[in-house]
């Protein structure tokens, strides 16, 4: 159904939006916190390394080296002193000593040629006689380099401290933070979904209640237990449903009162009408004996009583439909025989076209009589004198009875032929006809029989009514029977059966 589809889409949308917002917020927070934390940790680790290294360099340059090499520093004395090995063993520091001859002494082969790669700013500081430091990389390793001279004019010492521990630590910290953030996002996502579902649950319940109301279950309500905005909303929804239900109940009651009134009126009319019809039937026989003026009045009276009778009959029938008091009693019916008798009784001038084989279907013969009788009456009243053709045709799963006239019907009714089936519909208001209920009644009967009644413009002019009756069982074969047709030889054939 389109409604639930749209509702479902909207609910998913809200859930997704809530999830996206929550995840974005958590990710942003985790990102900022993570970046800040790793920056702070990185800086503090570097500060400590630098301070330690500086203290060490200060001591080495100021105390250790002058003490170890009091006679001055050259390549030979340096190598002999084993100072560089001492430094490495003591604190894992590699050393470059710039003797100023372009061939520095190094404590490790890794450092060969490293001097040239050091930042020039650092060498400038050293040249000024100060102790300097620089974060750089040597032989692909992240390092802290401290540099200075033991005395003015002495060779420059570059102490290379390994800083890759710091990089590793910070990298590990970042990974931990990232994993933590992802876990946090997962938890946040699950929480967001749960919260969204909780929020949407009343909306889903309300959608279901609204759908049930739309389907006619007017007593559907939302259970409003919470005291939040949804509770208020649910109370309002229920109040609306109450009002709707009450209004519809009221309308139904009024409609049912109206229907009962129509039924009562028709019923009350029936007793005096029975008198009128009987009296008129007696009067009609005696019309010839009356003086001319009284005779004309008598004729009109007889005709009006007939009209009144058909109106009351039809009203009774309509009110029975409205009360759903109709029962269908089916039996096998020979449609051809039925139609022949109907045409003979109601419109003997009509042309009847029947199949060669008898058409027997399981249906309610009294209702078939009413339908076809009303169609014939309609043709007689609204297409007076025009040719009328009645025919039967077998269709898959159904049998159709067609009543086609060549009267002015389709022109008078205009394009909206369906209107003919409305109660009190008159195709031609100027023409006094039946009750205006006959076609509406015929259609109700057709639907009770599980069939349908349609109208179309007759290609040859006039109206073409098609009654479609379902064939439920198999059509019966003929048995050796005494049928009505045999006995009709006694009188003249009342219909003009067209040979095929």
């Amino acid at each position: 159904m389109a409604g639930t589809g749209a509702g479902g889409r909207r609910a998913v949308g809200i859930r997704a939006r809530v999830a996206i917002v929550v995840v974005a917020l958590v990710a942003l927070t985790a990102g900022v916190l993570g970046a800040g934390a790793s920056t702070v940790v990185d800086a503090s680790l570097r500060d400590r390394l630098r301070a330690d290294a500086l203290r060490q360099a200060d001591y080495d340059l100021g105390v250790l080296i002058p003490t170890a090499l009091p006679a001055g520093i050259d390549r030979a004395s340096l190598t002999a002193s084993g100072l560089l090995d001492t430094f490495r063993l003591r604190t894992d520091v590699e050393t470059i000593v710039d003797l100023g001859d372009g061939d520095p002494v190094v404590s490790s082969f890794d450092l060969v040629g490293a001097l040239a790669g050091l930042p020039p700013e650092l060498r400038a500081i050293v040249d000024r006689g100060e102790i300097g430091y620089a974060w750089t990389s040597v032989a692909g390793r992240s390092v802290l380099v401290l540099a200075g001279r033991p005395a003015a004019g002495a060779p420059a010492f570059y102490f290379v401290h390994d800083a890759s521990d710091i990089d590793r630590a910070v990298a590990q910290l970042r990974i931990a933070l990232l994993v933590g953030s992802l876990l946090l996002i997962g938890v946040a996502l699950a929480t967001a979904r749960a919260v969204a579902r909780g929020i949407l649950r009343p909306i889903d319940a309300a959608s279901r209640a609204a759908a049930r109301i739309a389907d006619g279950q007017l007593d559907a309500r939302v259970t409003a237990t919470s005291r939040d905005e949804f509770g208020t909303w649910a109370a309002e929804f229920n109040r609306m449903a109450d009002t709707l239900e009450a209004t519809i109940e009221r309308l139904r009651a009024a409609e049912s009162r109206n229907r009962r009134f129509v039924a009562d009126v028709a019923h009350e009319l029936r007793t005096p009408l029975t008198g009128l019809v009987a009296e008129a039937s007696l009067l009609r026989v005696e019309l010839g004996t009356l003086p001319p003026d009284a005779r004309r009045a008598g004729e009109l009276l007889v005709a009006d009583v007939a009209r009144l009778r058909s109106l009351v009959d039809d009203l009774m029938e309509v009110s029975r439909f409205d009360a759903n008091a109709e029962q269908v009693a089916t039996e096998p019916v020979d449609l051809g025989q039925r139609l022949r008798a109907l045409v003979a009784a109601r419109l003997p001038a009509a042309e009847l076209v029947l199949p060669d084989e008898p058409v027997v279907i399981e249906t309610d013969p009294r209702r078939v009589d009413r339908i076809v009788g009303n169609l014939l009456d309609n043709a007689r009243l609204h297409a007076p004198g025009a040719p009328v053709a009645v025919s039967i045709a077998r269709r898959p799963g159904a049998v159709t009875v067609t009543v086609a006239d060549r009267g002015p019907g389709s022109g008078a009714a205009g394009s909206d032929l369906e209107r003919l089936f409305e109660r009190f519909a008159k195709a031609d208001p100027a023409r006094p006809g039946g009750s205006g209920l006959g076609l509406a009644i015929a259609r109700e009967h057709a639907e009770l029989l599980g069939g349908s009644l349609r109208v179309d413009a007759n290609p040859g002019g006039g109206l073409l009514f098609e009654l479609r009756l379902p064939v439920t069982g198999s059509l019966l074969d003929g048995d050796p029977t005494v049928t009505g047709g045999q006995d009709r030889e006694r009188g003249p054939e009342p219909t003009r059966s067209q040979p095929r």
Binding site: R270, A278, L282, Q337
Partner: protein, 226 residues
């Protein structure tokens, strides 16, 4: 045709015009305005036919019909105003032979009355005896006996039995029976036949639930068995 007719109808206007029409057609008419009075009149007058309104004050028309049927085979025609078609079946089962729906035209009613009276007036050629299973049917005397015991049948029931028993094995459609016995043209109500056959079976069949004397031919009609 100097038949005597009892008309039981509560509406004075209808009662008067129907009585007028019936008298004009040559019948002798007695009238009653309610059920108890109708029964009293019936016992006093011994009419040849009863016209019975279904909705009567005092005693329902259906009850009156049942009461009359206790000891009489007189033809009863119901005048029914009710729209509910079920009432017609109930009325027929109560013992009515035929019904006329209100409102009706007098010629229509008189035709029904004549048809009902004609039933049970055997023609001169009908003085013969038929047998159907254990039943002995004396068409002339209009009696049915089983093993010497007479079975009381209404005239309608008797005519249905004779019609079927005359040609055993022959299937009769309900339309044919309606035409021959009730003198209806094709548009008669086939329930008249069904209810009459049902009542007939209740009287003549050893076991009405599984009939052997009058068989239903599904979708066609009835035939005599035996």
């Amino acid at each position: 045709m100097d038949a005597r007719i009892l008309l039981v109808e509560d509406d004075a206007s209808i009662r008067e015009i129907v009585a007028l029409g019936l008298r004009g057609a040559g019948f002798t008419v007695a009238t009653a305005a309610d059920g108890p009075d109708g029964l009293a009149r019936f016992r006093a007058e011994r009419p040849d036919l009863v016209l019975l309104d279904v909705m009567l004050p005092g005693l329902d028309g259906l009850d009156v019909a049942r009461e009359i049927r206790h000891g009489s085979t007189v033809p009863i025609i119901m005048l029914t105003a009710r729209g509910d078609t079920l009432d017609i079946v109930v009325g027929l089962e109560a013992g009515a032979d035929d019904y006329v729906r209100k409102p009706f035209e007098l010629p229509e009613l008189i035709a029904r009355v004549r048809a009902a009276l004609r039933r049970g007036r055997g023609g001169p050629d009908e003085a013969d005896h038929l047998r159907l299973g254990p039943l002995a049917i004396d068409v002339g005397a209009r009696t049915v006996t089983r093993d010497g015991t007479p079975i009381p049948l209404t005239r309608t029931e008797f005519d249905v039995l004779v019609e079927l028993a005359r040609r055993p094995g022959q299937v009769f459609t309900r339309e044919v029976l309606l035409e021959r016995i009730w003198a209806y043209d094709f548009l008669g109500d086939s329930r008249l036949v069904d209810v009459a056959v049902g009542r007939l079976r209740a009287k003549i069949e050893p076991e009405p639930a599984s009939p052997t004397l009058i068989l239903t031919i599904r979708g066609v009609g009835y035939r005599a068995g035996g």
